[in-house]
């Protein structure tokens, strides 16, 4: 720590007013405040003193995602060697290492490109660096398929940061969740690398290896959407031994993350709970009306027990880490309940009714992100009207 402090102190003169690199002060400030608590205090207005700030919030969310990330690394390796028929012979650490070698470069690209774009905008706009990208940079690799080329990750990140965030004024002003903006962009721009049954498991075989007979790389949702056989047990789905985006497969790992977010009070329990109820509600409606489905594939999908919908696909991951994004979700307490409910409701509806978009949670969250200000508006208006009415009755009495 002393070392960092010394380095910072020694380069500081270059960045302050009159220094050679004055223009790049935001970069210096960003690094300095990332490493150390700033030595200056605010001088005007009222300020709340609290142990938690934006950076610490972000870091907590990142810690909450670590279980999903680590499991994703192992699972990627496990599926890869499983496809080659070597799942039994290859050890735990080899699987983990294989996954890490695929996923760490994605993380580096995601953070490097995203923070690079943020730095550029800070210098152009001459404001301080906001650390909003810390979480997005971690989320983006977790919601991508294992086989996606790195440059596609980079392009999606640039799109998400520029069009999803900087256009609206930077961190805290974005309408849409940046990580999901990146995924939606990649999904529509490079559909062959983002959907189907080829992209979720890496099947590149080294010399002397070959893909086992009867191998299928389809996700659980993909199998249901196309009426295929689902070869995974409920326990597999819950623990996450299934193909899917890197970090989303294990409901257990997501639940650990959810516990961290709820315990620290960073994630909104209202959104998570009402989202869960919304998804169950839609699932039960489907169960009731399954016999009226228009096709046999849809019928089998609609008949999936409502609780099982919760552990398939990215529903849990999206609801815990992305629907609860404090910027793009509804802000009012009542609004959060409505917002969460509709996220869950639409997520299940989209994945069942639209086989082309098996991953409904992405589109459901983005859709509700757009609707969140509207929900807030009516909640606030409703409250105003209620108090007006109360005032009128008090005056009349």
């Amino acid at each position: 720590m002393k070392l960092f402090k010394n380095i910072l102190e020694s380069v500081k003169p270059h960045f302050v007013d009159g220094g050679k690199l004055e223009k790049y002060y935001p970069v210096y400030d960003g690094f300095a405040t990332f490493l150390f608590t700033p030595g200056h205090t605010s001088h005007s207005g009222a300020h709340v003193r609290d142990a938690i700030d934006l950076k610490r919030t972000m870091v907590t969310v990142i810690f909450a995602m670590v279980p999903a990330l680590l499991f994703g690394m192992w699972n990627a390796g496990n599926l890869h060697y499983g496809a080659l028929g070597l799942a039994e012979t290859v050890g735990f650490w080899d699987k983990f290492l294989w996954g890490a070698l695929k996923i760490v470069p994605m993380l580096i690209v995601s953070y490097g490109v995203g923070l690079g774009v943020e730095f550029i905008f800070c210098i152009i706009k001459k404001h301080q660096i906001q650390e909003g990208f810390l979480v997005s940079g971690m989320l983006i690799p977790l919601i991508m398929p294992i086989d996606i080329p790195l440059w596609m990750v980079a392009v999606s990140v640039v799109f998400a940061v520029v069009i999803g965030k900087e256009v609206f004024g930077g961190t805290g002003m974005n309408i849409l969740n940046p990580a999901l903006t990146a995924r939606a962009f990649a999904f529509f721009a490079y559909p062959t690398y983002m959907s189907g049954d080829k992209v979720w498991i890496n099947t590149s075989a080294a010399e002397g290896q070959s893909v086992v007979d009867g191998f299928s790389g389809a996700t659980v949702l993909g199998s249901y959407a196309t009426g295929g056989e689902v070869g995974y047990s409920t326990m597999d789905m819950f623990l996450g031994f299934i193909p899917g985006s890197i970090g989303e497969t294990s409901t257990l790992a997501v639940l650990i993350g959810a516990a961290i977010l709820l315990y620290t009070g960073i994630g909104s329990w209202r959104i998570m709970l009402s989202g869960l109820i919304g998804a169950l509600a839609m699932g039960l409606i489907f169960n009731t009306f399954a016999e009226y489905a228009i096709s046999p594939e849809q019928q089998s999908f609609m008949a999936v027990p409502a609780w099982q919908q919760l552990i398939m696909g990215g529903f849990a991951f999206g609801l815990v880490f992305m629907a609860t994004d404090p910027v793009s979700a509804a802000q009012t307490d009542k609004g959060k309940i409505i917002y969460g409910f509709l996220v869950g409701f639409f997520a299940i509806m989209i994945r069942v009714f639209n086989p082309a978009y098996p991953e409904g949670i992405m589109l459901a969250i983005l859709f509700m992100n757009v609707m969140a200000p509207l929900i807030d508006h009516y909640v606030v208006q409703g409250n105003i009207n209620k108090r007006k009415k109360r005032l009128a009755t008090v005056k009349a009495a």
């Binding site: 080329p149 440059w151 392009v155 069009i163 529509f188 721009a189 490079y190 559909p191 690398y193």
Partner: protein, 224 residues
Amino acid sequence: MAEVQEVKKERESLFSKNNRKLISDPLNDSNPITVQVLGICSALAITVKLYPALVMSISVLFVLAMGNVVISLMRNLIPNRIRIIVQLVVVASLVILVDQVLKAFVYDVSKELSVFVGLIITNCIIMGRFEAFALGNGPWKSFLDGLGNAFGYAWILLAVAFFRELLGSGQLFGFQIIPESWYLSEGGFYSDNGMMLLPPMALITVGIIIWVQRSRNTELIEEN
């Protein structure tokens, strides 16, 4: 408006400063698409490839310039109450003319543009220029104004189409620009951006042009 009086009576040279401004202004500071936000629907619909966008631009150029001249010549004859109908008749006849020419000479493009040629009639830029300019100014000035606005429309269309065709299908005017060997299917690393072919990306591209334009000229930024 019909009641607008011609202010300038003394003779002006054909390319005086004011007349040149009629052409140059719509290219930037009063661009019909990015500043007045007119004619957006066709800008989103036919900018997937450059060639149809070019044909569309030329069609609009013809209709707008000719229509402006015709309306300007008739401006003192048109009763104020029915001026919209008269304008519609003029623009409809010109559009039918363009449509027939396109069908005769560039049938493929005509099919591709389909309904959007007919929809030039309802293009807000054209009615807007008739109302705001041709009804109150002489034929030469109206002609220049028509040209200017059509060029303003055209360059946005072509700029959007350039990026959409280049990034969306790797081509320009139908010629392959991105080398075939770069594609993943050929063992390379590249893949076309499918989203560029979808209308939302046209909207975003126009948005980026508006963004760049307004950060260069901050006077264009509206008050909230």
